[in-house]
Symmetry: C2
Subunit: 167 residues, 2 copies
Amino acid sequence: MLLLKELPTPKSLEKFAARYPDTDIQAISDFVSLLRASADISQALDRLLARYGLLQGRWWILVLLLRQDNLSSSPTDLAEKAGVTKASITGFIDSLEREGFVQRLPSADDRRKYQIRLTAAGLQKLDEIIPDYNRKIAGLMSALSLDERHDLLSLMKRLVANLEAMQ
Amino acid sequence: MLLLKELPTPKSLEKFAARYPDTDIQAISDFVSLLRASADISQALDRLLARYGLLQGRWWILVLLLRQDNLSSSPTDLAEKAGVTKASITGFIDSLEREGFVQRLPSADDRRKYQIRLTAAGLQKLDEIIPDYNRKIAGLMSALSLDERHDLLSLMKRLVANLEAMQ
DNA sequence: ACAAAACATTATGGTTCCTAACTAGATGGA
DNA sequence: TCCATCTAGTTAGGAACCATAATGTTTTGT
């Protein structure tokens, strides 16, 4: 994710507004700052996961599997929950299987289907990461009180709810 | 960006906390929700830009050039401002140059250097996108009052300031 | 003069993600 | 029953984004 280090300055915003007169400078400036802060947070997570040889793609697949009762799920289900195509899931599974973190198990009732199951090694990997992850995330979020976090999420969700206006 | 559609449910969080006892469930849940909202917003921008054949990488490079006085900058400067390596900038410039949006101009004083300049076509492309971009972003941000936006950014910045605690 | 530093590129590869085409298997109606 | 159709998953091919390492060229500093 390209993360703009250089936020717009008052001077560059003026210049921008001069060329594009109807600009709501404040809105643009706030939007860019928000994107930048979001990207910083996402990148920090990437850095944390990278210490364990993962990035967000494969991490979230492992987390989705951990949530399941029998630590397993189907590619189609994972695709829906992760918000990517089935073809993309195949790639993630290939990569995770190569490292021994998941297994493809044939389905008893339908021979087209597979169950993707977290292996003992995959669970062990999560056991290695998650205590650290928990500590780091709790540390991060402790910058805000519970009420402030609630406000933050509520404001973000109102923005997200208004995204359709962007289409 | 893999965007987890399926946020943790109370049940899956319980399960999580059972295996990892010191979990601050609320912190994890808030963090994941925040990432998800951020990703939604970033994706909406991608979709907007995609209608004009751009994605965020090349878009931000064009915006950085637009901010410059003579619509030009050096690869090194762009790399710093965009937060990527110079090698990555070379790729962006190659792609933008192929489409005629920027030009590489030799530098008068130093033959190692180039100036990357926005061409007339590049400026025209921005003129095509930015009025729509302005309208859409203003529409999005209008979901919140100025005070609320200020609060949102202030909360986000406090989180970002605490990111070092994650390392 | 010459070593060191700076600028940009090339080479190479990894990750994430897509669409389109395909195979294998299941299903449902004639 | 049989065949068209649907579903599950993979393969093929490619694009965007981004990094490290090595390289060539030019400038700078001593």
